[in-house]
Structure formats: structure tokens, C-alpha cells
Point group: C2
Chain length 116, copies 2
Amino acid sequence: MAKVSYKKFRMKPRITLVSDEKFFGRGVSELLRLIDKSGTMQEACKIMDMSYSKAWKIIKRVEKELGCKIITAKSGGVKGGTTILTDEARDLVSRFDSMEEDVAKYTERAFKKYFL
Amino acid sequence: MAKVSYKKFRMKPRITLVSDEKFFGRGVSELLRLIDKSGTMQEACKIMDMSYSKAWKIIKRVEKELGCKIITAKSGGVKGGTTILTDEARDLVSRFDSMEEDVAKYTERAFKKYFL
């Protein structure tokens, strides 16, 4: 058997929150971060090259699964009303990002163990 | 902040072997297992509801990345020629499956840590 070297490859991990179907992963986490940063769904969708209707559908799905709002309107301020994340959404994004980083580190170690 | 319970959810992990692009994951591993079991690509494609041309493209891509054949013809026998996996393919599938199981177990523990 020819010895295959796996040194030039890497193993990419991906985690997704699932109920009966997948409903929250890297993409949604990124979308929420961008909404929070820009203050508008429109701007976040533009950056992600995603349609407003798709983003809205994704957000409604997450809200249905969690049983609470994940974005909310913040009225007033210099720029007028903006869209911000609820505490529940911040909490979810924070947990998800931490877990994702943790699993990524483990996957890197596991790749060395099983392939290198 | 309303307390969201994540008990009814699970976190699904997925690992994929990557060079410049993804080229080997759960789907390809399953395809190879089915080819080996049935002895023909046709039968494996049928079970996976995948076109022969797509399966062939996937296999060629993996062979190009690894620099070796992953399926080979075995001539003769009662049923005539069959298609089997090369030792290199068996080795890859075995490593991948073991690592996938390992990462899945870790992800389950990590989910408890970060979400429950």
C-alpha cells in the first residue's frame, strides 16, 4: 500500500444546533453579529449577500425554536431606530462561538492523532 | 433575560477533509462503503440516490488529492468483475470514521458544558 501523506490537508469542523432540523450554525451566528454591529438587517444582509426575506425566515425559525425574540427595535438616538440583539441572542451567540472554538481546537488535535 | 432551555436540542458535528476545497466527508465515506459492500458503483449510486457521473467526479477528485487510486476492478469470480476499494481507500475510511466518532463524542460533552 502506497503511504498517503495527509500533512497538506486539514480537517474542517462544523457544528450546528439541531431540533428536528438544523436551525443555528456559523452562518446565523455571523448574521446576528452583523445585525448587531450595523444596527440594521438590511446592512447585514448586504454584507452577507443574503436576501432580506431569507434572513427574516432564518431569524423567525430561531425565535420559534428558542421560544423568544432574538432581535428587537431600539428607537431613538442620532441615527433613528436601530435593530439590536436581545440578551437571549447575545447569550446564544456567545455560547456558540465559545463551543465552536473549543471543538475546532479539539478537531485539530484529533486530526494529528488519526491522520498524521 | 428569559432563560432559554437548550435541553431539547443537540449539537450536530460534521468534519470534512479540506485542501483548497472540501473533498472528503461523511457522504464520500458512505459512498465508498457502499461500493465496497455491493461491488458496483451503480448499486452504490442507486442506494445513495446519486448520479453515476457525480459519484465518478467525487471519486476522481479524492484520487487527485491523495495521489492514488481509491477504487479498483477485481476481475473474475462467480458474479464477474466487481469494484472494490484500494487499501489506501480502506485506510482513509477507517481513519475518518474513527475520528468522526471521536469528535462526535467530544461535541456531545462540549454541548453539555456550554449549553446545559
